[in-house]
């Protein structure tokens, strides 16, 4: 069974803090993704990575950065958290020998981040 784990289920931070969200997958997947999920907006792609140290911006990368130093781990970083970054953050991974975004994604349980 594919397992994608996220470091926290709930997180409360203050405006201006640097926030790290960690994601680990155990299936040797090449692709990893970070989304945020907001009511009425569905899932929106922040960043994704198709290999170690490789990354591409998604639809809403502003205010975020990512790091992928090891294949199994993908980190989302909020350099200076703001209240409008309060959201549910979902990590996902997928297998891809070739770069094909249509491959099935396996999601973690999510981290609900509140920025006060």
């Amino acid at each position: 069974d594919v397992k994608v784990t996220q470091s926290s289920r709930y997180l409360v931070k203050r405006t201006g803090e640097k926030v790290f969200l960690e994601c680990v997958q155990d299936m040797d997947h090449e692709n990893m993704f970070w989304y945020r999920q907001d009511p009425g907006l569905g899932l929106r792609l922040i960043y994704f990575s198709y290999d170690v140290k490789m990354k591409e911006k998604g639809d809403i990368p502003e205010g975020y950065s990512v790091s992928r130093e090891k294949k199994e781990r993908f980190s989302l970083i909020l350099e200076s958290a703001s209240t409008n970054q309060t959201s549910m953050y979902l990590c996902a991974s997928s297998f891809a020998r070739l770069i094909r975004p249509n491959n099935e994604q396996f999601f973690g349980p999510g981290t609900r981040l509140t920025v006060l």
């Binding site: 989304y35 569905g42 998604g58 979902l90 249509n102 099935e104 999601f107």
Partner: protein, 111 residues
Amino acid sequence: LAKTTQPISMDSYEGQEVNITCSHNNIATNDYITWYQQFPSQGPRFIIQGYKTKVTNEVASLFIPADRKSSTLSLPRVSLSDTAVYYCLVAGRDSSYKLIFGSGTRLLVRP
């Protein structure tokens, strides 16, 4: 800008067939259509994927017309445990990656 549109919510009763349609007018030639199911406090889970015509697996069918501007997820004989949010996803690659989720359809199955 590519966009996927789904109904916000649907109601059904146990044993009925449920059809959820997603509109994706700007779908590109290389794009695939995928549907995910999400329960509260969980991440989305893959249901089915297709490119054109009809795809069927053990839990659902996916109908895609020839122009591919819409797709319909069909759940046969729903049960209470099918109460969830269903998302369609249009994904592909041209000059860059594209992963466009719809805003989700909340399905409520009543006894």
